[in-house]
Amino acid sequence: MIRVQNLVKNFGTFTAVNDVSFDVNEGEIFAFLGPNGAGKTTTIKMLTTLLKPSSGTIQLDGLDPQTQQNEARKRFGIVFQDPSLDGDLTAWENMEIHGVLYHVPHKLRRQRSEELLKLFELWDRRKDQVKKFSGGMKRRLEIARGFLHTPKILFLDEPTLGLDPQSRNQLWSHVKKVNEAERVTVFLTTHYMDEADRVAHRIGVIDHGRLVAQGTPREIKEQTKTETLEEAFLALTGSTIRDESADPAAAMRQFAKMWSGGRR
């Protein structure tokens, strides 16, 4: 479903993604792990048409996201690291706009919005403005919205960041449900190794822009002769802390935190 070959992305002299190749099969949940600044988000941006690769090829369901942009976009849904809901609109209206932008026919749009909101336990709150939602509810709504246009692939960029264990659990069980029911391929990144271990069928570990390991969670643990995925991760990527230099997005995030009083 996703095929990446020799993918490279340079920013000036800095190589953010260096010769990465991997395949994700249809219906698979693939976790993309790596320390901060390893190249996860850059890779997702290239996969989702937002960034142009320096070299290498990407295929999403057989399509090139660069040359067949709109066709490729119809085939995936994405949940960004930062919230992308409209807080002044209701949950239902957020779904509606998404449906219109993705050209989902009126009748199907309503029917699917209803199904998804019910599945993600948001149906009773559909007429409430999203700004009144908790962090977990917002995340669930974003994921429900991502499924609305029946994508073949769903990208989740650190979807559980800042959520409590209950919300995280619930979120993953919902994602798994749709993954099984609709055979949607899921490509996710997370910093919670236990989540990746539990949810993902296969894992890729990226560090300094290079893919350092890939396989099932069990294979990766065996490869590194460790007990848990967290230990395996540290064995692969070392224990030095990566300090990302503050990019504009990070500065904005800081600002957002200040204004929202630390809530997501």
Partner: protein
């Protein structure tokens, strides 16, 4: 088309729902109108220039349209990182449609805001020479709104963080307002100031409204309309171009 419509509708809905903000944003223009209109009025009258209240009303209306439209554009900076806009940038819709929908939405809101301020001014003593010409003045409001919504989009697409926002506010938005002749008539001012004023697009919008409301103007209503339209077209093209270049 449906994408443009739904994005336009989004802006309008957001506006209608933010009642507290609507009331708050009416406060400033009203304060300018009342305090300056009644405060400077007597001096102005004695100098033989007629009623200052009538001069300042179109300026205050123009101000509210300017602020509302340019902020809707600048809001893009926020919207693309933490708002719904990011979602639209990966949707199978062209950037041009997104930009048009958003700009039209922002401009619509600005015009509504301008109409509310017009109504308040009328309530507190503003008397146009010919009330039947108000629709023509609305055309000027629409032109001002489009020019500055497009300018806002162009800048909002180019800014990287909130620091830039403050700079734009102090060195662009406020000068545009103060140097437009919104608060003073353009007759008998120094050559230097007049030249600067002529470089400010808002001057033509306010002059256009004055010519309709008061029956006198510094330039010429036809010139005003022509200049505003041309600047509007240029800014819309630049805005669309900058918007198409946004990377997130």
């Amino acid at each position: 088309m449906s994408a443009i419509y739904i994005l336009w509708l989004r802006e309008v809905k957001r506006y209608v729902r933010s009642r507290a903000q609507i009331v708050a944003s009416l406060g400033q223009p009203l304060l300018y109108f009342l305090a300056l209109g009644f405060g400077l009025g007597p001096v102005f009258q004695r100098a033989g220039y007629g009623s200052y209240l009538q001069i300042v009303a179109p300026g205050v209306i123009g101000m509210s349209v300017l602020f509302s439209s340019i902020f809707s554009g600048l809001g893009l900076l926020w919207d693309r990182q933490f708002g719904f806009l990011k979602e639209t940038l990966v949707a199978p819709v062209s950037r041009l449609q997104i930009m048009i929908g958003r700009t039209l939405g922002g401009a619509t809101v600005a015009v509504v805001q301008g109409l509310l301020v017009t109504a308040l001014c009328l309530l507190f003593g503003f008397r146009p020479v010919n009330p039947w010409l108000i629709p023509l003045a609305i055309a000027f409001m629409i032109a001002i709104a489009l020019v500055f919504a497009a300018l806002g989009v162009a800048i909002g697409s180019s800014l990287q963080d909130m620091q830039g926002f403050q700079l734009i506010m102090n060195f662009l938005v406020m000068p545009i307002f103060f140097l437009s002749g919104a608060l003073f008539p353009l007759s008998n001012i120094s050559k230097v100031l007049l030249t600067i004023t002529k470089l400010d697009p808002l001057s033509y919008g306010i002059d256009g409204m004055r010519s309709i409301y008061l029956g006198r103007s510094a330039f010429n209503p036809a010139t005003d309309a022509l200049v505003l339209t041309s600047i509007g077209v240029v800014l819309l093209v630049i805005g669309a171009w900058r918007f198409s270049r946004i990377e997130i």
